[in-house]
Amino acid sequence: MSPTVEDAMSEQPPAAAYTQAESYAPMEAAVADLVTALPGFPGFERRLWAKTPCSHDGLDDPRYTNVEIEYRFSQEDSQRAEVREHYADVLRDHWAGLGYEIIADRSIAARDRTDRDLIAFRPADRVKLWYSVAYYVSIRIRSGCVPVSDLSEIAYVPPVGGIVPGGVKDQVGRYFPDGIPVEPTDPFESPDSYDDAL
């Protein structure tokens, strides 16, 4: 008998390693780790938190979501061969060395460039790491389908890769409707000593 929405809801999905709220910290840690592996890392242009729906038997299940963290290089850096080619090779070896499964590594001849999708999978927590080389180059960490959390449960994790926490390029604001909770800095505050500045 074909499934209905109700049937789909009543089936039990596989246990997830995290809830939505719990997934951000380990995923951000994966980005912090890969940054250390990239030689001459130029910094990222922006960070974004997003999510995609989870569907079972063709129906979206609103109880679950697939968290995605994206860090994107600048357009200038995205055109560099080091970022487009060398970093992909470095990450492939790095992730394989960490015991991750390389589940995709394909090159695509786009119109006036060569794109690449390098995707690794961490079986322990089903996190995917996707180095996407297109017009922009970006790293996307995906949680797999995890139970949805209330916004109030989601804790801020400071960005890596040169993104200013709470700045314009730290695009996580919709998860913190009362404002991104970073420590404010007083621009007029004097340092304890000027010795190092003289």
Partner: protein
């Protein structure tokens, strides 16, 4: 109803229709000069105050001026917008379908099929000769090739025996091909009839509602002219209402011409005083629709406060055990849900100060092109302005798509598509969530039915025509991306009504209402279907041939990639045949389906199809 037959369509002189449209356009330009001459040479000229003064001079000049205005309006509204544009649009539509007929009819004839039946329901059947050929074990070469046997040479040899044993295959194969041609033919005729009927409606509405001329000069002129001027000022509103109600017979292109012909003050007045006649209308530019729709949304949310309060009060006076109470309670729950869904939608696309919000990932504004609370609810929201974008991708959701999703999972998917397109190209892509139809709520029985797609087909057609009509500069590269039942919606609109899309992308499709990509009216090279191994169409291709099947004739693109062993020698870690994923994208089994599919889709919607695989 159109009486066009396939022979009429094949033999139609489309150039003559277009030439007639050109003739009307030339006539309009010439006559506009005459209208201006009435003002300059007559009103300000020989009947001007310097040369003509009497008790009735002012009335005469006014009457001539009103007549010149009426003449100009009619030239613009009727001769140009209605007659000429209708002729151009009909010529374009007929020419497109004529090209298909000219490709299809020879194929039907070459394969010895016959076309039978009514022009609205053609059948393509095996001819008597073909029946005979199969029965006498003398099948034509093309059929032998399709079935994979050598053509028997008339003697009782192995080829003849094979033909005998393959007679079922021969018939089945021939019938299947005839069915595909029938599908294609019916779709072509459906679109041609639709174009014919639409053209007729536009012209008929004009002839049934002639405009009034100013009152004639004479004793009653003063009594009548004020009423005439009042009606004049009401004309724009009446036209706008008829357009919004769908009774004007005008296409989105004609609506756009009408809109551009209004003064700034008239447009602003409509937006402010009657946003309900502006917001939902295809053919009116996006920015103005967005302004009007936001006003409507705000008013509706506010209005719901009052309706909810009234319903709560009514409930207080009812017997809680009564059926009346139960019904009123259900209505109250619906109102509260509507308010919740509409408020969430508003919050998603609007800043705290009331200004339109920008999707920060792509730095594009949200534009509200429509919404509704009937049935499952509707929402049409664009990320980026489709009037100015190089590419437009309209995502059509499937089963359980509803108003709540417009600020939930459906919007998440739309935003992901927008982000992927921005990462894939330097060109701007506007990504539209098009939930402009009442999507089915259940797989069984609703998603098995075609009524939801049938009911929404004309609206999706108009949406695509509206995108073309309001484009500033070159037309965008327009893609319709259907997901699940959304592919049935896209396919039904494309096959029956015709859509002005460059590309169709069909993901997890239970069928598109036709059995062949040829029947969709879009270049088959630009019809794409996903071969996602985890596509869950548990209820089978109930709406026609699955578009991923080779017989359908679409391009397919992969949504997965062979798994690679963690060590070179661990060959058993390669691609597996039996997937056991709970989630459709295979994420729980470490499948890269979603990611690969996204890369491919981004290339398609940004016009980089050569990279797709």
């Amino acid at each position: 109803m159109s009486e066009l037959t396939w022979q009429h369509l094949r033999d139609l002189d489309c150039a003559a229709i277009r030439a007639l449209g050109d003739a009307w356009k030339s006539h309009v330009d010439a006559m506009l000069d005459q209208a201006e001459r009435l003002r300059t040479d007559v009103i300000d000229g020989h009947l001007g105050v310097e040369h003509y003064e009497s008790d009735t001079a002012t009335q005469v000049r006014e009457q001539i001026g009103l007549t010149a205005d009426r003449y100009e309006d009619d030239l613009s509204d009727y001769a140009s917008t209605r007659i000429a544009t209708t002729l151009f649009e009909a010529a374009d539509a007929f020419e497109k379908e004529q090209a298909e007929i000219k490709e299809l009819i020879p194929l039907i004839e070459q394969h010895d099929f016959d076309i039978e039946g009514d022009r609205h329901d053609y059948e393509v059947n095996l001819s008597g000769d073909l029946h005979q050929a199969i029965l006498t074990l003398d099948p034509p070469q093309w059929l032998c090739d399709k079935v994979g046997i050598r053509k028997p040479d008339g003697f009782w040899d192995w080829d003849t025996v094979k033909a005998l044993f393959n007679s079922v295959d021969l018939y089945g194969t021939a019938i299947e091909l005839a069915g595909q041609y029938q599908d294609w033919l019916r779709s072509v005729m459906s679109r041609a009839h639709d174009a014919d009927d639409e053209a007729a409606a536009a012209l008929q509405e004009m002839s049934e509602n002639p405009t009034e001329l100013p009152p004639q000069l004479g004793a009653t002129y003063d009594d009548l002219v004020d009423d005439y001027k009042t009606e004049l000022s009401q004309e724009v509103a009446d036209e706008a209402k008829a357009i919004a109600d769908g009774t004007s017979g005008m296409s989105p292109e004609q609506v756009n011409q009408w809109w551009e012909g209004l003064s700034d003050a008239e447009r602003q007045s409509l937006i402010e005083e009657h946003p309900e006649w502006v917001g939902p209308v295809d053919g009116i530019p996006t920015e103005q629709r967005d302004t009007a729709n936001r006003t409507l949304l705000d008013n509706e949310i506010t209005g719901l406060d009052g309706r909810i309060a009234a319903k709560e009060q009514a409930l207080n006076g009812m017997d809680p055990e009564s059926d009346e109470y139960e019904q009123a309670k259900a209505e109250l729950d619906d109102l509260r849900q509507d308010q919740k869904d509409l408020t969430r939608l508003q919050d998603h696309i609007t800043n705290a100060d009331g200004t339109p919000k920008t999707y920060e990932a792509t730095d594009q504004q949200y534009f509200l092109l429509g919404y509704g609370t009937e049935g499952s609810g509707q929402a049409i929201v664009s990320i980026g302005n489709p009037d100015t974008a190089d590419n437009v991708n309209a995502y059509v959701p499937g089963t359980t798509g509803n108003l709540a999703g417009a600020s939930g999972g459906l919007m998440d998917r739309t935003e992901t598509m927008a982000r992927d397109a921005a990462n894939a190209s330097s060109e701007e892509t506007a990504t539209v969530l098009w939930l402009g139809y009442d999507a089915p709520d259940t797989i069984v029985p609703e998603a098995m039915q075609d009524k939801w797609a049938q009911d929404g087909a004309a609206d999706l057609e108009d949406f695509t025509k509206g995108i073309r009509a309001t484009a500033e500069g070159e037309p965008s590269n327009l893609t319709l991306t259907g997901h699940s039942y959304g592919t049935t919606m896209v396919g039904t609109a494309a096959a029956q009504e015709g859509v002005e899309a460059d590309n169709l992308v069909l993901i997890a499709s239970p069928g598109t209402s036709v059995d062949t990509a040829s029947a969709l009216g879009v270049d088959e090279d630009n019809v794409w279907a996903s071969t996602n191994d985890e596509d869950v169409i548990q209820y089978g291709p109930v709406h026609g041939e699955a578009p991923v099947n080779e017989e359908f004739g679409a391009n397919t693109f992969t949504s997965d990639s062979p798994r690679e062993p963690t060590e070179w020698w661990k060959f058993w870690e390669g691609a597996t045949e039996n997937h056991s994923s709970y989630w459709d994208d295979g994420s729980d089994e470490g499948e890269p389906n979603n990611e690969i599919s996204r890369s491919n889709q981004a290339l398609i919607v940004t016009g980089q199809e050569e990279g797709v695989r």
